[in-house]
């Protein structure tokens, strides 16, 4: 359960990225965060685990206020929040297994992580997670040897290795092709459902959000301008979020993507023949 109360962020340059954002994410809910670029989506989720320091407001995870925690306490709280990144953000030169185990860093002392001597239970769990995301065979490969979709699966496994109570997901599909994007989104929603995990997903792809999210929040210029179910996300609501021009632009972009997908499918079919 996550409460945001009056969350505000003003950057040093004077740009107000978030203005008084209040939200509640109950257990097990997958919430999509949409909005034009620069609306503050990325800032919002980074304020939750304080990769970006909020300027004001409260972030309550359970009954702990994360704002104002000291360094050591913050680290302990960060373990409860798994994060999945846009460009995967795997440590490219480490193996897949090390990347998954790095999710345990907050739980093990330095010498264990340095010597790669993780507790047996952690290793067992890492294997289990790799199996869950379908990468059992790739454990010893280096992360930079994997494809985009595989890397994002490792990213998911790493976040889950933390035993999180909340998932923050930053544009999980921005660097993936449409087909892989859907696979990744399906995996994410399944995993959240299995564990009753709440998640906040930044997503720029509106149709994808409508397909997979239970609730959608629209941000514009740092303010919440829409909060409802995917069905409630009407043309008017989208215009409110994106502005008339951008929204039509996006729809055209999406049509293009659908056409491109159809085209790719035809070609694959032709190749298969």
């Amino acid at each position: 359960m996550l409460f945001l109360e009056g969350l505000t962020k003003t950057y040093k340059t004077g740009d107000a990225a978030l203005r008084d954002v209040s939200l509640t994410v109950p257990k097990g809910q997958i919430m999509g965060l949409i909005g034009p670029s620069g609306a503050g989506k990325s800032t919002l989720i980074r304020c939750i685990n304080r990769l970006v320091e909020p300027s004001g407001g409260k972030v309550l995870l359970g009954d702990v206020d994360l704002v104002g925690l000291g360094k050591a306490d913050l680290r302990r709280q960060r373990r409860r929040i798994g994060m999945i990144f846009q460009e995967y953000a795997l440590v490219e030169r480490l193996t897949v297994m090390e990347n998954v185990l790095s999710g345990r860093l907050g739980y093990v002392p330095f010498w264990r992580s340095f010597l790669r001597k993780y507790p047996p239970a952690d290793i067992q769990r890492a294997y289990q997670l790799l199996d869950r995301v379908g990468l059992m065979e790739q454990a010893d490969k280096r992360a930079d040897a994997l494809s985009g979709g595989q890397r994002q699966r490792v990213g998911i496994a790493r976040a889950l290795a933390q035993d999180p109570e909340l998932l923050l997901v930053d544009e999980p599909t921005a660097s993936l092709d449409p087909k892989t994007s859907r696979q990744i989104m399906r995996l994410l929603t399944e995993i959240c459902a299995e564990r009753g995990l709440p998640a906040i997903v930044n997503i720029h792809d509106v149709p994808l959000a409508q397909q997979f999210m239970q609730r959608i929040v629209g941000l514009r210029a740092g303010r919440v301008v829409f909060d409802g179910t995917p069905e409630q996300l009407t043309h008017e609501a989208l215009t409110a979020i994106y502005g008339a021009e951008d929204w039509n632009e996006m729809r055209r972009g999406d049509e293009e993507q659908t056409r491109a997908e159809a085209d790719a499918r035809d070609r694959m079919a032709a190749l298969a023949r």
Binding site: T95, E98, R116, P120, I123, R125, Y127, Q128, A139
Partner: protein, 268 residues
């Protein structure tokens, strides 16, 4: 969430040498080498111990440098070093340009290419100090030998990088100029020069910087400049003067580095 069928141990697979035996042999080899190498260092600890007092005096000299007592020597050494640096860079770069053009495979005839690459290889293979020893033996002690040394070393540096640059120029531009019926000289002027000129200026400034540092070294073997002054100061155990000289060298190198990076940005 127990899952007894998953392994509970994991070892990071070896990244470079995959064969276990080779890896162990390699590690043993390193240890043996280190033991042998460290064993070959004979240290006279008594001498080191007495030397520590001098070391302390040197550190003190560095913290409280004495610019005054030997100022005449220091300023003369500095002027020698600075003039040597400038003249040798100018002459070195001037000679490097034809050699660099000659050493570029894409515009020079074969036989010229080999001669120029040969000159570059000789100039790069020899340490400045060794070249200085020879020039001092030939031309006598003093700045002239130092000037020749630095000019010679500059040729190897600038000509090589210039030649590599010319070899990497955009062929399309050269092709376009050639297509207009330009002569070889016009080709250089219109297609090559505009592309490599900014780099050449940058490299010359960088070399100016290196030449100053080197001028402080070759003085030790008799080629004049601040190095000679420094050598004398250390020989006389005047660590406060030596400290002053070192601080001046550091300061000039810092100023040169900042201003050359500024100038390079300004020129581009």
């Amino acid at each position: 969430m127990s899952a007894p069928d998953y392994p509970t141990t994991w070892r990071r697979p070896p990244q470079i040498i995959r064969d276990r035996r080779w890896r162990i042999a390699f590690q043993i080899g390193i240890v043996v080498y280190l033991i042998l190498a460290i064993g070959s260092v004979e240290v006279n600890w008594a001498r080191v111990y007495t030397g520590l007092e001098r070391g302390q005096r040197f550190v003190l000299g560095f913290l409280q440098p004495d610019f005054d007592t030997r100022w005449r020597d220091i300023s003369r050494g500095l002027i020698e070093s600075l003039t040597m640096t400038l003249t040798s860079t100018v002459v070195g770069v001037a000679i490097s340009i034809p050699i660099g053009i000659g050493a570029a495979r894409n515009i020079a005839p074969r036989w010229i290419y080999y001669i120029c690459r040969g000159i570059i290889a000789v100039s790069r293979a020899l340490q400045e100090v060794i070249i200085a020893i020879f020039f001092v033996a030939m031309f006598g002690f003093g700045t002239f030998a130092g000037f020749l040394t630095l000019s010679f070393a500059t040729i190897g540096f600038i000509a090589k990088l210039l030649a590599d640059d010319i070899e990497e120029i955009d062929e399309a531009q050269a092709e376009a100029v050639r297509a207009t019926g330009a002569s070889w000289g016009q080709l250089l002027n219109y297609a090559v020069q505009p592309q490599v000129m900014p780099r050449l200026i940058g490299l010359s400034l960088y070399r100016l910087d290196i030449n100053f540092r080197e001028s402080a070294v070759i003085g030790i073997v008799g080629a004049g400049g601040i190095g000679a002054t420094l050598n004398t100061a250390i020989d006389r155990y005047e660590y406060d003067s030596a400290g002053a000289i070192l601080l001046i060298i550091i300061a000039i190198v810092m100023v040169a580095e900042y201003s050359s990076s500024y100038l390079r940005k300004f020129l581009q």
